[in-house]
C-alpha cells in the first residue's frame, strides 16, 4: 500500500536542478500498482517534468479522487500536500483549494472511471471554469481496483479480459474537452516518455485548465489482443500529430533555425511551447479544426497524440472572478472585516 517508503538513497553524481534538488527529491512513496502498470510510467514522467521545471516541491498540491490512477499522487512529490478525496470529486476539491490559494501548482491525477463516469460533471465544470491546474487523465478503459469492469472510455468492440465485448460508445476526453472550451488539450501515451514529458511541462506552465489524456494500459485487466487501450494497440495506431518542445523562459532559443513547420505559442510566464507540424494542415490554435482532425483520424483507427489545442488568451477562474492578485489565504483578517463602524452604518439601512 501507499505507506511503503522508499529508502532515501542519494547518489552523489545525480544531476541537480536550479534548486539544487535531484530527481529523487521529486519522488514519493513506493508504488503499489501492478508491475508494468502504465500509471507508473506517467508518475516517472511527471517526476522528470517537475524536476526539470525546478518546481519547489512544497509549492505543489497533489489532488486526486479514487482509483488506481488516484493512488499515484502518493508516488511523487513526498514533500507536497496531497489530497486523495472521494471518487470523481477531485475537480471540486481542486477548485476550492485554488480559489483559496492560487499561488500553488495544482496537479490533478485522475482516471477514466473517476473522470468520465462518476466524475464527468465535475470534470466538465472545472473545464468551463478554466481552473488553473494540470489534469492528467490516466486512461486504461477499465476499472482496475474493482477488478476489470468496463469504463466509459472503453471502445465499442473492445473485449474485457473474460471476452465480453463492450457495446456502449466511449466518451473521448479529448473531444469532450475541446467541445467544452478547454484551453489546453493534449493526448499522450504512458509508453512514450519523450512525448509526455514536454507536454507535462507545457501543461504545468499553462494558465488555465490543462487536460492530458494519457493512454495508460492496465496490465492486469486490459492489456490483451482485443483491447484498444493495450500497449500493442496503442503503439500500432499511434499518430503523433504535433510533437512538442517546451522552452522555458530562461533558455536561450536563438540557436533555433527558422522552420515553417514549427508553431510557437508563448505562455503566460513568457516561456513557449513549440509544435513541429507533422501534418501540414494541423493548426493547434484552431479548436474546430483540432476536433475535426481527431475525429477523422479516429475513423481511420488512429490514436492522435500530441498537444492538440492551446489557447493562452483565456482568463482562468480567478481572472473571470476578478479576484485580487494576492492569494485569498494571504489577505490579513483586518482587510477582510469591515469593522464596527461600517456595521453601525449598515444597520441604519434596516430601519
Amino acid at each position: 500500500m501507499t505507506s511503503i517508503t522508499k529508502p532515501p538513497v542519494r547518489h552523489p553524481s545525480l544531476p541537480k536542478n536550479a534548486l539544487g534538488l535531484t530527481k529523487r527529491e521529486y519522488e514519493g512513496a513506493m508504488s503499489t500498482l501492478c508491475a508494468g502498470c502504465g500509471h507508473d510510467s506517467v508518475t516517472a514522467a511527471l517526476v522528470h517534468a517537475l524536476w526539470e521545471l525546478d518546481l519547489p516541491p512544497h509549492r505543489a498540491a497533489k489532488m486526486s479522487g479514487i482509483g488506481c490512477s488516484s493512488k499515484t499522487t502518493a508516488y511523487f512529490l513526498r514533500q507536497s500536500h496531497g489530497f486523495n478525496g472521494v471518487h470523481g470529486r477531485m475537480p471540486a476539491l481542486a477548485t476550492g483549494a485554488n480559489a483559496a490559494n492560487k499561488s500553488l501548482a495544482y496537479i490533478g491525477i485522475s482516471g477514466d472511471g473517476d473522470s468520465l463516469s462518476i466524475g464527468l460533471g465535475q470534470l466538465c465544470h472545472a473545464i468551463r471554469r478554466n481552473v488553473n491546474m494540470l489534469y492528467v487523465l490516466e486512461n486504461n478503459g477499465v476499472y482496475g481496483l474493482t477488478k476489470g469492469q468496463f469504463s466509459a472510455s472503453a471502445d465499442v468492440g473492445s473485449k474485457s479480459k473474460r471476452g465480453e465485448p463492450n457495446v456502449q460508445p466511449p466518451i473521448d476526453p479529448v473531444l469532450l474537452a475541446l467541445s467544452l472550451g478547454a484551453t489546453f488539450v493534449a493526448r499522450s501515451f504512458s509508453g512514450d516518455k519523450s512525448q509526455l514529458v514536454p507536454i507535462l511541462k507545457a501543461a504545468m506552465r499553462h494558465t488555465g485548465f490543462a487536460i492530458i489524456d494519457v493512454i495508460s494500459p492496465c496490465v492486469s485487466f486490459n492489456d490483451h489482443e482485443t483491447s484498444t487501450k493495450s500497449y500493442r494497440y496503442t503503439r500500432n495506431h499511434y499518430h503523433d500529430v504535433a510533437p512538442v518542445d517546451f522552452v522555458p523562459l530562461r533558455r536561450e532559443i536563438s540557436a533555433e533555425v527558422p522552420d515553417n513547420s514549427v508553431v510557437s505559442v508563448t505562455m503566460h510566464d513568457g516561456s513557449s511551447v513549440r509544435f513541429r507540424k507533422v501534418d501540414e494542415n494541423y493548426n493547434p490554435r484552431d479548436r474546430d479544426a483540432a476536433y475535426a482532425y481527431v475525429r477523422a483520424r479516429q475513423g481511420m483507427g488512429e490514436v492522435v497524440t500530441g498537444l492538440l489545442y492551446i489557447d493562452e488568451s483565456a482568463a482562468d477562474m480567478h481572472g473571470v472572478s476578478g479576484t485580487v492578485d494576492r492569494p485569498l489565504v494571504e489577505i490579513p483578517y483586518e482587510e477582510l472585516c469591515p469593522g464596527s463602524g461600517a456595521l453601525a452604518e449598515l444597520m441604519t439601512e434596516y430601519r
Partner: protein, 624 residues
C-alpha cells in the same frame, strides 16, 4: 358599516394580505411593515409564498404586538383580499368579529358573504385604471392603493409613509408622484366611505429605536463577511439562495480593493451541491474560511463530502436553511426536518457540530462563531436555520461588532513552528483534547502530508491496521466530546429565580423560540409552573441533560413529524424518549404560541389519564 368600538385594541392585532405573486405586492407589504416599525411599534411579517414566479396566490401576514411578541399569529383580525382566486379562503380566514377588505372592482359572490364578519369593499382596481396609464403601472400602484386604505383603517402614520416613499423614489420624481396619488386614492376612499379607524388600530410607541428589520439569510451572510470568509460555493436552492446573494452584495460593498476594484473573495456557483461541498472543503484545506448555503436536498447530496471532511478533519461552514421534506417537499414552506440527518450526516461513525439560531440576530453571531468552531475543531460545522428565519424580515436588536474580535484559526503550524519540531504528524493529539495540529499547503517543506479519506494512522499514512485506525477514530470521538463543552450552551428561561425547577420543562430550538417564549408567558399567566430551555448547539452541552432530569414532565417543541430533537436528546443523553412528550407542528408554516400552549395543556391533561399520547394535531391549512 362598522360600529365604533369603545374597547379599541391598540397595537395588538394581526392582519394579512392575499395577493397574486409577481404583481409587486411584496414591496407594498414591506412598506406597511416598515412604516409600523418606524412608528416605534413591535411588528412581525411572515411571507407565505408559492414556489412560482408569477400568477399564484401569496399571502403576507403582519402582526403588531405592543408586548413585543414576534411569533406568527394564529388568528387575524383583518384580511385584505385582492386575489379573486382566493376570496373564499380569505373570507374564511377572518376571525369571528373581524374584517374583510376586498377589491370591489370584482364583486364578492353572494355565496362568499359570511355572517359575523364585517366586509369592506374598495374598488382599488377600478380607481387605478381610471387614474393611471398602462397595465404595469396600474398593477403596481394597486398595491400602494391598498397600503393607503390600510393607513386610514388602522391609522398608519401618513407622514412616515410619505417619508419612506420619498426615500425610495428620491431619484424618480414621476414615480414618486404616482405613488403619492395611489396612496391617497386608497386613503381617501376609506376615509370617505368607512368609519376610520377600525376597533383595532396603531398608536405611536417608542419600542423599536434600537431594533432593525432583517432577514436571517442576510444576517448570516453578514456573519460570513465579518468572520473573514473568503470562499463561498453554492448551488441555488430555495430558501437558501438569498444568503449567497446577500454575501455577494455585502462583499461588493466591503471587499473590493480600493485601488483596483478587484475582489477579496471568491464566490463560485457550483454545478450541484456535491461540488459546492467539495469546493468548501478544498478551500478549507488550503486555509481559507469557506462556506456554503443550502437546504435539505442539498444536505443529502453533500453527505459524502461531509464524511470526508469529518474524517480528514477539514473545516467548513454549512448553512442549512431548512424547508419541508422529505424529498423536494414544499420548497417555500418551513420545517425543522434536517436535525437528525445533520447530527450524524454521512456513512460510518460520524457526528457533527451544529448551531441552531433562533432569529436573524443569532444567524449573525452564531454564523461568526461557526467559523471559529470549524477551524478550532477542524471539522464541518452546520448552522441550522429555516425558511421562516432565513427569508422573513424579523424585528431584532441592531447588530453590533466588537473590533477586538480575531478569528480562532485553531491549531495551525506555520513554517517557524515546524522548524522547532522533529517530525510533523498530522493526526497526533499532543495535549489530549482530541485536536491535532494541521498545516496548510505551501507553507513549508516540513509540513507536507497526505490527506486521505481511506484508513490512516496518526502520521496520516495509509493503514489497514485495526489499532492504528482505532487510534484515529477514537480520537475523533474525543474531539467531538471536547466540542460539546465549547459550543454555545442552552439558553435557560427559568420561572424561579432561586433555581428550583418548575413542574413543566419545555425544550425547543431554532425558529420555534419566539412562539415558545410567548406560550411560556401564557402558561405561566394561567398558573402553570414552567421552565424553558432553548437548545443552541449539538453535540449537547452537559447542562442539557441536567435540565431534562430536573423536570418531572418535559415537552419538546419542534417542527417535524417524528420528534427529531426528542430522539436526539434521548440518544445523546441516555434519557428514555418516553420521559419527554413531543409538541409537534410540521405543516410548513411558522409556529404559533397557541399551538405551543395547546400542545402542553393536552400533554398535561393526558399525563393525568392512563392513555398517554404525544400532542399532535392536524397542522393548520393555509387559510385555516
Amino acid at each position: 358599516m362598522p360600529q365604533p368600538s369603545s374597547t379599541a385594541r391598540i397595537n395588538d392585532f394581526a392582519f394579512k394580505i392575499g395577493t397574486v405573486n409577481g404583481t409587486g405586492s411584496a414591496s407594498a407589504n414591506s412598506l406597511l411593515m416598515q412604516a409600523i416599525f418606524r412608528m416605534g411599534i413591535p411588528v412581525t411579517g411572515k411571507n407565505v409564498f408559492p414556489s412560482n414566479i408569477q400568477g399564484l396566490p401569496t399571502w403576507y401576514e403582519i402582526r403588531v404586538s405592543k408586548d413585543g411578541y414576534t411569533a406568527r399569529p394564529e388568528e387575524v383580525d383583518l384580511v385584505v383580499a385582492l386575489n379573486t382566486a382566493t376570496y373564499a379562503k380569505d373570507v374564511a380566514a377572518v376571525r369571528p368579529g373581524g374584517y374583510l377588505l376586498y377589491d370591489s372592482s370584482w364583486p364578492l359572490d353572494d355565496t362568499l358573504i359570511r355572517e359575523g364578519i364585517t366586509i369592506l369593499g374598495i374598488p382599488f382596481g377600478r380607481m387605478c385604471v381610471e387614474s393611471f396609464q398602462g397595465d404595469r403601472e396600474r398593477t403596481l400602484l394597486r398595491n400602494i392603493a391598498y397600503a393607503g386604505a390600510l393607513a386610514a383603517l388602522i391609522e398608519i402614520d401618513m407622514d412616515v409613509i410619505g417619508e419612506m416613499l420619498r426615500e425610495k423614489f428620491s431619484k424618480k420624481k414621476s414615480l414618486l408622484d404616482a405613488n403619492f396619488t395611489a396612496i391617497r386614492l386608497g386613503y381617501d376612499y376609506a376615509k370617505t366611505h368607512y368609519d376610520c379607524p377600525l376597533p383595532f388600530r396603531l398608536e405611536k410607541m417608542d419600542a423599536t429605536k434600537d431594533s432593525i428589520l432583517l432577514d436571517g439569510n442576510s444576517a448570516a451572510a453578514l456573519g460570513a463577511v465579518y468572520a473573514g470568509a473568503t470562499v463561498g460555493a453554492w448551488y441555488p436552492i430555495t430558501p437558501s439562495t438569498s444568503l449567497m446573494e446577500a454575501f455577494k452584495e455585502y462583499c461588493e460593498r466591503f471587499r473590493l480593493d480600493p485601488a483596483t476594484k478587484q475582489r477579496k473573495y471568491c464566490l463560485i456557483q457550483a454545478e450541484d451541491e456535491l461540488a459546492a461541498a467539495g469546493m468548501v472543503i478544498g478551500a478549507g484545506w488550503a486555509g481559507a474560511r469557506s462556506f456554503t448555503s443550502t437546504a435539505g436536498p442539498g444536505i443529502s447530496l453533500m453527505s459524502e463530502f461531509i464524511g470526508l471532511a469529518y474524517y480528514t478533519e477539514i473545516p467548513g461552514v454549512f448553512f442549512d436553511i431548512q424547508r419541508t421534506g422529505p424529498s423536494t417537499g414544499m420548497p417555500t414552506r418551513t420545517q425543522q426536518g434536517d436535525l437528525l440527518s445533520i447530527a450524524y450526516l454521512s456513512h460510518g461513525d460520524t457526528k457533527h457540530i451544529a448551531l441552531f439560531p433562533a432569529n436573524p440576530e443569532e444567524c449573525f453571531y452564531l454564523g461568526v462563531e461557526a467559523f471559529d468552531l470549524a477551524e478550532r475543531f477542524q471539522t464541518p460545522v452546520f448552522v441550522v436555520s429555516d425558511l421562516d428565519i432565513g427569508m422573513n424580515d424579523w424585528m431584532c436588536p441592531a447588530l453590533k461588532w466588537d473590533d477586538a474580535y480575531r478569528p480562532d484559526r485553531g491549531k495551525v503550524l506555520g513554517a517557524e513552528d515546524l522548524e522547532k519540531i522533529q517530525r510533523f504528524s498530522r493526526y497526533f493529539d499532543t495535549d489530549g483534547d482530541g485536536i491535532a495540529a494541521r498545516t496548510l499547503p505551501g507553507a513549508s517543506p516540513k509540513g507536507g502530508y497526505f490527506t486521505r479519506g481511506s484508513g490512516h494512522d496518526k502520521h496520516a499514512a495509509y493503514t489497514e491496521d485495526s489499532a492504528d485506525y482505532l487510534e484515529v477514530v477514537d480520537r475523533l470521538a474525543r474531539k467531538l466530546e471536547t466540542a460539546s463543552h465549547a459550543v454555545p450552551g442552552p439558553e435557560l428561561h427559568l420561572q424561579n429565580e432561586n433555581g428550583s425547577a418548575g413542574a413543566i420543562g419545555i425544550i425547543s430550538l431554532g425558529g420555534c423560540h419566539a412562539a415558545v417564549l410567548e406560550g411560556v408567558d401564557r402558561l405561566r399567566s394561567e398558573g402553570h409552573s414552567v421552565d424553558y430551555m432553548r437548545v443552541r448547539a449539538f453535540p449537547f452541552a452537559p447542562s442539557i441533560r441536567d435540565f431534562i432530569e430536573a423536570h418531572e414532565r418535559c415537552y419538546v417543541v419542534e417542527q417535524n413529524r417524528d420528534g427529531q430533537l426528542r430522539t436526539l436528546l434521548a440518544i445523546e443523553t441516555g434519557i428514555a424518549r418516553d420521559r419527554m412528550t413531543s409538541v409537534l407542528d410540521y405543516g410548513g408554516l411558522p409556529l404559533t404560541a397557541d399551538r405551543v400552549v395547546r400542545g402542553v395543556l393536552h400533554g398535561e391533561a393526558s399525563a393525568k389519564s392512563p392513555s398517554y399520547s404525544p400532542a399532535r394535531e392536524p397542522a393548520p391549512s393555509l387559510s385555516r
